[in-house]
């Protein structure tokens, strides 16, 4: 199940990121060299950004890559650590599922108003529904971690 999630979300976010890179390259290159830009490239980048961020979010939770303070760990007994992490996963899941509900409602409002992107006229609502579904999926990932008997150590992402 985890491998399927890694494959689907990884491919989705990775391909979207590659597309942003290629789109920027050809758009800027076209504009600077032959004075021709890709129509709607800015909007496409915006939509692809949603895919990059929200499709990768379940993977961040799955791998425990969120920034956490772990300085207290050495003072807690292993049993207490497991209990603590269970509580944290439930809290994280509740927050993310709540956020998914909020975004679902927002998507409904966008669907009703029929708001589109300015140039290419893509309907925005499906992307916001996508945000909602992926937030809910990330919440489920946290609930799934409850069943894990081992304590997961965070992996530092190279953000700094």
């Amino acid at each position: 199940m985890n491998r399927l999630l890694e494959w689907v979300c990884g491919t989705l976010s990775g391909v979207a990121l590659f597309c942003i890179m290629a789109l920027t390259f050809f758009d800027v290159g076209g504009r600077k060299l032959v004075s021709t830009s890709i129509p709607g490239s800015l909007e496409l980048t915006e939509l692809l950004m949603v895919v990059v961020i929200f499709a990768a979010l379940p993977l961040v939770s799955l791998r425990g890559e969120h920034v956490v303070f772990n300085s207290m760990d050495s003072y807690l007994a292993p049993d207490l650590q497991r209990l603590q992490r269970g509580v944290v996963h439930v809290l994280s899941a509740l927050l993310l599922i709540g956020l998914a509900y909020l975004m679902w409602q927002t998507a409904g409002e966008f669907a009703q108003s029929g708001e589109t992107t300015a140039q290419l006229k893509f309907t925005k609502a499906p992307f916001i529904y996508g945000m909602s579904v992926l937030c809910a999926l990330t919440g489920c990932v946290h609930l799934g971690q409850l069943a894990k008997p081992t304590v997961q150590e965070p992996v530092e992402a190279a953000a700094l």
Binding site: G10, T11, S13, G14, V15, A16, L17, F18, I20, M21, A22, L23, T24, F25, V28, G29, K32, L42, T45, E46, L47, M49, V50, V52, I53, F54, A55, A56, L57, L59, V60, R63, E65, H66, V67, V68, F69, N70, S71, M72, D73, Q84, R85, V87, V88, S92, L99, L102, M103, Q105, T106, K124, F127, I128, M131, E156, A157, A158, A159, L160
Partner: protein, 430 residues
């Protein structure tokens, strides 16, 4: 004031319970806003922040610079950089340590991450230093300290984040980081000179290279130079915006990696997904920090703090110096990105109201992060080196890094005292 203080206390409580910091900031910001403005407004503003941050074109600069750094690391350009630095200065006492710092500065010019710079250099420089008999504490400390140059010398992920959060021009921030980055590199090298004078047998000189060898090594770094000139020159010269420059840089680094056969389909997808994960992690923090900042801005805390500082009668520079002391102390025990995202809503309005340039403050913020990254007991670069070189041991890494921490604190003081070091280059930009 009380509401905001309660908010900060709640974040620290949740964070110490190991709730991811992004979630802690998001929960506290949402609840705080709900209590102060009503739940309907709190939910509406949260949904708006999530939606607007997700759909922001300008924020694509973040994944693109991360991607550029990851492609560059994969392409193995660090080996050429280290080789080029070594053939020129490797024969000096402590020459490999000097070469590591120069190579880190060069790598920092194409990679915006301190951790990635330190991790990459540990694979390139440590084996050479070990072979020549350098002490473990000096070798690891110099890599950890040199790695921090990755975030000062542009491009820099943290300068991009600072620019986005404070709405400061990213191109100017990048230009501002150049001189402080190079000066920091020089000071780190000075520290190596002092350390190796006291303990010369632990840092023997390498072989002297001939001029043909030196020219050959320089030819090996043409790719790095080209990327630096196109991306940073383009942004600095006003040819590209930072976002466009990031896209060109990522594409250029991708083409280099492909040309050097460093990327297959599998490793390409790995690099893309790794970059996307880092992006998602950072955006979660950015969204949560915005929700929390919205709450703090609704409390009376920013105004009260300004009033309190005016009442104290301190000179403006002393106020900034006091902030820096707080940051250096916090940086020894806190994760640096969180420290900055949590404190910016409070400190930034004070700094601008005192009449200081946000670009200068951005450079100071990067400097305190650099210090935090190598300050024991909680220094991310030290942990990364410990993870990559477990045989060395954290104790020896801690022991070796102190002179570099001191040097960086001196550099911070210089930057506070002489704002022109940061603001001279940006002054030429339109």
């Amino acid at each position: 004031m009380t509401q905001a203080l309660l908010g900060f206390a709640a974040i620290f409580l949740l964070a110490s319970l190991r709730v991811p910091l992004a979630f802690a900031m998001g929960i506290v910001g949402l609840i705080g806003m709900g209590i102060m403005r009503g739940w309907h407004a709190a939910f509406a503003s949260t949904a708006q922040v999530v939606h607007e941050t997700g759909f922001a074109y300008t924020l694509s600069v973040i994944p693109l610079f991360i991607l550029m750094g990851n492609f560059v690391a994969k392409a193995g350009l660090a080996h050429e950089l280290f080789r080029a630095a070594y053939v020129f200065i490797g024969h000096l006492r402590g020459g490999l340590a000097h070469a590591t710092i120069v190579a880190c500065a060069g790598f920092g010019a194409i990679c915006g991450s301190s951790i990635a710079t330190a991790a990459t250099m540990s694979k390139v420089a440590y084996p050479s230093m070990k072979k020549l008999g350098y002490s473990d504490s000096l070798s690891t400390a110099v890599i950890a300290a040199g790695g921090t140059l990755g975030i000062m010398i542009p491009p820099s992920t943290i300068l991009v984040i600072y620019g986005i959060v404070t709405e400061t021009n990213i191109g100017k921030l990048f230009a501002a980081g150049v001189i402080p980055g190079l000066l920091t590199a020089l000071l780190l090298m000075l520290a190596v000179v002092v350390m190796t004078s006291a303990d010369p047998e632990h840092a023997p000189p390498g072989d002297k290279s001939s001029w043909p060898e030196r020219w050959a090594a320089l030819r090996g770094i043409w790719g790095v130079l080209l990327l630096v000139i196109v991306v940073l020159g383009g942004i600095y010269g006003g040819v590209f915006t930072a976002t466009e420059g990031a896209g060109i840089g990522a594409s250029g680094a991708f083409l280099f990696a492909m040309a050097r056969r460093a990327l297959g389909w599998k490793s390409l997808l790995e690099v893309l997904v790794e970059s996307a994960r880092t992006t998602a992690m950072l955006f979660t923090l950015l969204i949560a920090a915005t929700i929390f900042a919205n709450f703090v801005n609704f409390t009376s805390m920013p105004g009260d703090l300004k009033e309190w500082i005016t009442h104290l009668g301190l000179s403006p520079v002393m106020v900034v110096a006091a902030m820096m002391v707080i940051y250096v102390v916090l940086g020894t025990v806190m994760e640096e990105l969180t420290m900055v995202l949590l404190t910016l809503p409070l400190f930034f309005p004070i700094v601008t109201s005192l009449g200081f340039d946000p670009v200068w403050f951005g450079v100071l913020i990067v400097m305190v992060i650099q210090i935090g990254l190598i300050s024991p007991p909680v220094g991310m670069n030290l942990f990364v080196l410990n993870a990559l070189l477990p045989k060395v041991g954290l104790g020896r890494i801690f022991k070796g890094v102190w002179p570099f921490v001191v040097v960086q604190i001196v550099m911070l003081a210089i930057l506070v005292a002489f704002p022109m070091l940061s603001l001279w280059l940006p002054s030429f930009m339109r």
